[in-house]
């Protein structure tokens, strides 16, 4: 498993994905200039742009790595040679996932450091007039939880990839899951609000609630507002989110292993 993880990591670096990220990361250098367009919140805007860019790069990575992994391995017949080794299919899946997760963490670490430097530079030039200091712990937490969110998305993409024979289902399925998972909380709150009691039928209400429980709740991992406006996050909520992350990842990986284990290899 560790061998597969190492090989996966090496493969990503060999494909020059990291260099690609570094080129996109050059956009970070433009953030202080763009943030200057703000009238009253230069520091806040630089945090918004930095976290959004980080989030966007991680999204691209999670979709491109997770959604194109398994079916491409099968297509290239890489899987056959690996599985001929004394290695179970589930070890292969978990090893692949761990390799991707480590790469995501490394990317976040590098991009996060650049983002922090950019934020520091912008905020030192134009401190917030309303006197809200930047709480670096919140910024780091936002980056950490964003990384967790996209690792979870990789697991989702791998689940799609385990049953697919082309890139359509994993790529579009993951993107759809990403959008749907970002709004499930709002939909759930709306259908369960007193305002929607008369306008929404019980069937839709139950269906929405079921979808809410099935799809991952990615909104819980979004701490951007806390980081941008220095609003203290709820520590218990953060702890629950971490537990939710591990529980959901376990379900996804287990499902992926089961499906991949039953997949016929020709």
């Amino acid at each position: 498993m560790i061998y597969i993880a190492k090989t996966t990591l090496k493969g990503i670096f060999r494909d020059r994905v990291f260099q690609g990220i570094m080129v996109v990361a050059l956009l970070f250098l433009a953030i202080p200039a763009v943030a200057l367009l703000s009238m009253r919140q230069v520091a806040e805007l630089s945090i918004t742009l930095s976290l959004s860019l980080l989030s966007f790069i991680l999204l691209l990575l999670s979709v491109s790595l997770g959604a194109t992994s398994l079916w491409k391995d099968i297509e290239r017949r890489y899987t056959f040679s690996v599985l001929s080794l004394p290695l179970s299919r589930s070890s292969y899946i978990v090893g692949r996932f761990l390799g991707f997760a480590v790469f995501m963490i490394l990317s976040s670490l590098v991009l996060g450091t650049v983002a922090c430097l950019v934020i520091k530079f912008s905020s030192s030039m134009f401190p917030s007039p309303s006197g809200q200091p930047i709480v670096w712990w919140y910024v780091v937490a936002a980056m950490l939880f964003a990384t967790m969110k996209y690792i979870l998305l990789i697991a989702f993409a791998m689940l799609f990839s385990s049953v697919s024979t082309s890139f359509f289902l994993p790529v579009f399925g993951t993107i759809c899951a990403y959008f749907a998972s970002s709004i499930t909380q709002q939909v759930y709150e709306f259908v369960n609000s007193p305002a929607s009691e008369k306008s929404i039928s019980p069937l839709i209400k139950y269906a929405s609630t079921a979808v809410y429980y099935i799809l991952p709740n990615l909104a819980g991992f979004d701490l951007k507002v806390n980081a941008i406006y220095s609003i203290a996050p709820n520590p218990i909520g953060l702890g629950l989110t971490v537990l939710y992350f591990f529980a959901y990842i376990s379900i996804l990986l287990s499902g992926t292993c089961l499906l991949f284990g039953r997949r016929e290899m020709k």
Partner: protein, 288 residues
């Protein structure tokens, strides 16, 4: 076709064509008429799911869009170009309202809305409703109640509300100015007792001697107002009608000694019976 595309000469020709086109194209874009609109914006209900986890970025880009639009119009005005139609203030307001629904903490949206909704669009109530919405989220920020206080006092003449906002701004900022304004508007709204109580508490808690003195002077003025109000009410109770002036109250023995405005002004009664002073509770300044 593919053969032509793979020839270096084709690339050179394409580059030359681009170079020929780029200057007139840039000129066309720069001289586009002022009627550039803010463009179609989907409803916020649609924007929220579309923004996924980038709501703050979407909100910031909406604010930027409004800023660029307004900045473009102002820039063209300064260039001496004729503006064929006024700025789309409604559209600007719609976008900024959308921005704060996506990111209720976005200060740029409130700041800019405060600027054009009041002076340009004369939508004072809309501006204050937006600021009230912002105050629910930006609980640490004294700017929002400060703006709302100014709108209430200056534009809407709602001094009681202004005092409320300024008090909140004063509590958040600790600024003497906001606290004084709060006291001043409390008096103007007929809440002299409230103003006296508020300023007494502030005066007691103030360590800075200069500021303490400032509070004491304002407090002394409000005590004088209170004396006049008490005398006025006694006069009304005894005579059944309102007194004509403060001097009448002094002459008839309702008010002794005669009230003195510490700011150097002269107290008088407004037609409504409200006590006012020519100093407006501020020391006179000389224009150089």
């Amino acid at each position: 076709m593919t053969r032509i595309l793979s020839r270096p000469s084709f690339l050179v020709i394409a580059c030359i064509m681009y170079m020929i086109l780029i200057t007139p194209f840039t000129s066309y874009m720069r001289n586009k008429p002022i009627e550039e609109k803010l463009g179609y914006l989907p409803s916020v209900k649609v924007l929220i799911p579309l923004s996924a986890d980038q709501k703050e970025l979407t909100a910031a880009s909406l604010v930027m869009k409004v800023l660029m639009y307004f900045g473009g119009i102002v820039g063209k005005t300064q260039d001496g170009k004729v503006i064929s139609e006024p700025p789309d203030l409604k559209g600007m307001s719609r976008l900024l309202h959308g921005a704060v629904q996506l990111d209720p903490y976005n200060m740029d949206a409130y700041y800019f809305a405060q600027g054009f909704l009041t002076w340009d669009a004369k939508q004072f109530k809309v501006a204050n409703a937006l600021l009230d919405y912002g105050m629910k989220y930006r609980t640490w920020d004294w700017y929002l109640p400060f703006f709302a206080g100014f709108n209430s006092a200056y534009f809407m003449k709602d001094y009681a509300k202004a005092a409320e906002y300024y008090k909140r701004a004063g509590d958040l900022s600790g600024s003497d100015l906001h606290k004084s304004l709060a006291g001043r508007y409390m008096q103007e709204s007929g809440q002299t007792d409230l103003a006296i109580a508020y300023l007494t508490a502030m005066e007691k808690g103030e360590k800075n001697q200069a500021l303490k003195k400032n509070y004491q002077i304002r407090l002394a003025a409000f005590h004088e107002v209170k004396r006049i109000e008490t005398a006025r009410d006694r006069f009304v109770a005894e005579h059944g009608g309102s007194p004509v002036s403060v001097e009448q109250l002094v002459q008839l023995g309702f008010l002794a000694p005669a009230p003195a405005d510490p700011y150097g002004g002269r107290f008088y009664l407004e037609p409504s019976g409200k006590v006012a002073t020519t100093s407006k509770f501020a020391f006179a300044t000389k224009n150089k």
